[in-house]
Amino acid sequence: MKISPSPHNYGKDSVSSLMYGVIVAMIPAMLVSFYFFGLGAIIVTLTSVVSAMAFEWLITKYLLKKEPSLIDGSAIITGLLLAFNVPSNLPIWIILIGSLVAIGMGKMSFGGLGNNPFNPALVGRVFLLISFPVQMTKWPLPGNFPMEYADAATGATPLGVMKEGINNGEPMADILQNIPSHMQMFYGQMGGSLGEVAGLALLIGCLYMLFRGIITWHIPVSVLGSIAIFTGILHLASPEKFADPLFHILTGGVLLGAFFMATDYVTSPMSQKGQIVFGVGIGVLTVVIRVFGAYPEGVSFAILIMNAFVPLINNYIKPKRFGEVKVA
């Protein structure tokens, strides 16, 4: 007979069931990206996922000299997220570099799953953005399953158009003429990284993760809420100079970041209060970078900066203990 201390039973979740749940949640956005960006999106996604898995396997086996294990699915998520965060015409060799940086520098150098302070996919993405600014900011225009890859017609993202227009002092009404409507953006019909355009599909994925209990509402709601409030105030103060809150939420990587990257278990705070502080920090930094910074988009930087604050948040923001009153 076996002997062990209690408890003697286990809950239904395992690391791999949670990770595969996240992957399932990313499928709608992936399919939408295949539709709008066609062959290019498929090539980028496959390259990114396969190379992320391969790098993790090789590094575990030959550098860490441990038994490699890919079954937890976390490398697939990193690969998918990296693909979601780049344009669909990105050359394969650049994707491979991004994937190596994401897995090698972002994750394995800290000891693998559970130990990395920064979101690996974002480490890879930001590395590419800084190293290859030209290739990383040429966005293919959406079509109906286009078959072009490297030679796809490109254009600016709505955020880029907005930033340039405001900088040139164009009237807001004119700028809005040059970008897709809010509804088009919600479906994903706009230029951008391949996984960030499909607001509706990302929302479906997020609802699935909430329903499965993979994530809680705290981070997504606090990110979106703080962006909406901050840009809302700016917009009300000066509608000519600042775009409306819905525009900010639907464009760039806000939904992708709020649902899939800020909620990354490893790099987000442990207590629910801490998660709200973390989410608000991401929201505020995103708006600050977008509105006052040089880059049109700031979600990636905002998440990475807040990742750095997570240990501090965990140290100072504790859950409310039961019975936290003086003994009478």
Partner: protein
């Protein structure tokens, strides 16, 4: 919305296989071993010797202090020896071994089925009787009941909270008792209300036992001041502090006792034992125990005498299944696994759970992915992942500051962990070390 406690909690599969099996009486075996340490506190001192004749209900070991309890013989026969045996805790303990001869009860025990409603004892007399008749908390903690009923100077009891939650999966002993001995339980509650001088009692029962809620609510209409509250199913609602939060919406302060918020908590099984002691002159020498498991042919509830071997109960429930991997005293969340089936039944054994081999092993532990599930399920608002890391590194001062001593060892953190980390194992180590340091500081 049904009431429940506010912080954390989990929903393990309920598996109440024996909910519909009426309580059956199991006759004692030829030899019984009655341990002298069946309660929290000092072991009792044996007052019989080899070859003494004893009757059912006769005192055989005397309480050895305020926090201790009398122990009575559960059978009639001859004392064979006083020996050291392994009991359900896994430790070697002193026990009185009695060879059974007949079934002769002490003359003053009322064995009739008649329910006696009225009582005349004063508060002091009731507490004295409960002390003499060896009654301890039957929910599992086995804390001597007279201690809880003796309100310390300067404190005032306002409400008697009765625990009919039975939140442990599989166990149905309290459920059956509420259905079959409802009136006796209510009288037992009335007696305890008198003992601590309160006019209000609340029985908390989870909503997965609608029949028990309906039955007791109907019976309670003829009792003054007893309310029945249906609670949303959530583990560990049967924890004393969680139950008080659920039914009274008060938080027992960290390091404090229920009486600090005016509550005294007793289990329904204890209320029944109090009834039998006061109204029937019957000491605590038998109790209801659930014997259950997925592979067991007849999951059952038994009225079993203290001291009979667990193997005897398993036999009565259809015999040990072939695929048995683990046998647990108690439920799957907080029970103790047994290393032998010959350990004797004791006052604190509310269930015997037989787990099939494929569910018995620990799963492989993986790295923490910081998913924060342990933090969100902790009913005490602690951070189990930190407590585990600090225990691994033996950082006891920080462990104390993170309030490790608040942990109630409910096991929700280990249950929910997707990486199968042994959170509670390390937290127990930490509690042991920190408790030692705290005691040394006081001394």
């Amino acid at each position: 919305m049904a009431k429940t406690f506010s912080k954390g909690g989990v929903h393990p599969p309920e598996n109440k296989l024996s909910a519909n099996s009426a309580i059956q009486i199991v006759p004692p075996t030829n030899v019984v071993s009655i341990p002298v340490s069946q309660h929290m506190g000092a072991p009792s001192s044996v007052i019989v010797k080899k070859n003494d004749q004893v009757k059912v209900g006769q005192l055989i070991a005397q309480s050895a202090g305020f926090v201790s309890a009398n122990i009575h013989s559960s059978v009639s026969g001859v004392v064979q020896k006083i020996n050291t045996i392994i009991d359900t805790s896994g430790y070697k303990r002193k026990a009185v071994i009695i060879k059974v001869e007949g079934d002769e009860w002490m003359e003053n025990i009322d064995r009739s089925a008649q329910i006696i409603r009225n009582f005349t004892m004063s508060s002091e007399e009731i507490i004295k009787r409960i002390n003499e008749f060896g009654i301890v908390g039957l929910g599992g903690a086995t804390f001597p009941s007279h201690v809880k009923l003796s309100i310390p100077k300067g404190k005032v009891a306002k409400v008697l909270v009765i625990n009919g939650v039975e939140c442990e999966p599989y166990l149905t002993a309290d459920h059956r008792l509420m259905l079959e001995k409802g009136e006796e339980i209510l009288i037992g509650i009335e007696i305890q209300m008198k003992a601590i001088n309160v006019s209000r009692a609340i029985i908390g029962i989870e909503n997965n036992k609608p029949d028990a809620i309906a039955h007791l609510t109907k019976l309670a209409s003829s009792f003054k001041g007893i309310e029945i509250v249906g609670l949303k199913v959530k583990y560990p609602q049967g924890g004393e502090k969680q139950l008080i939060k659920a039914v009274m919406n008060r938080e027992v302060p960290s390091g404090g006792l229920p009486i600090d918020v005016g509550a005294v908590v007793h289990n329904v099984g204890t209320a029944f034992a109090v009834y039998e002691a006061v109204q029937k002159n019957k000491p605590l020498f038998e109790r209801v125990v659930t014997v259950t498991g997925k592979s067991l042919s007849k999951p059952s509830n038994f009225m079993a005498r203290i001291g009979v071997p667990i193997s005897n109960l398993i036999e009565a429930a259809g015999g040990l299944p072939e695929d048995t991997g683990k046998v647990i005293s108690g439920g799957p969340m907080m029970g103790k696994s047994l290393n032998s089936l010959e350990v004797p039944m004791a006052k604190g054994v509310s269930g015997v759970l037989i787990m099939p081999d494929n569910e018995s092993s620990r799963r492989r532990q993986a790295a923490c992915i910081r998913c924060a599930k342990c933090v969100s399920v902790c009913p005490m608002g602690l951070e189990p992942y930190i407590l585990m890391t600090l225990a691994e590194r033996e950082m006891w001062e920080r462990e104390e500051n993170e309030r490790i001593m608040d942990c109630i060892e409910c096991g929700s953190c280990s249950f929910v962990c997707p990486s199968n980390r042994a959170l509670l194992d390390y937290i127990r180590l930490g509690k042991g070390a920190v408790g030692k340091i705290m005691r040394a500081r006081k001394a």
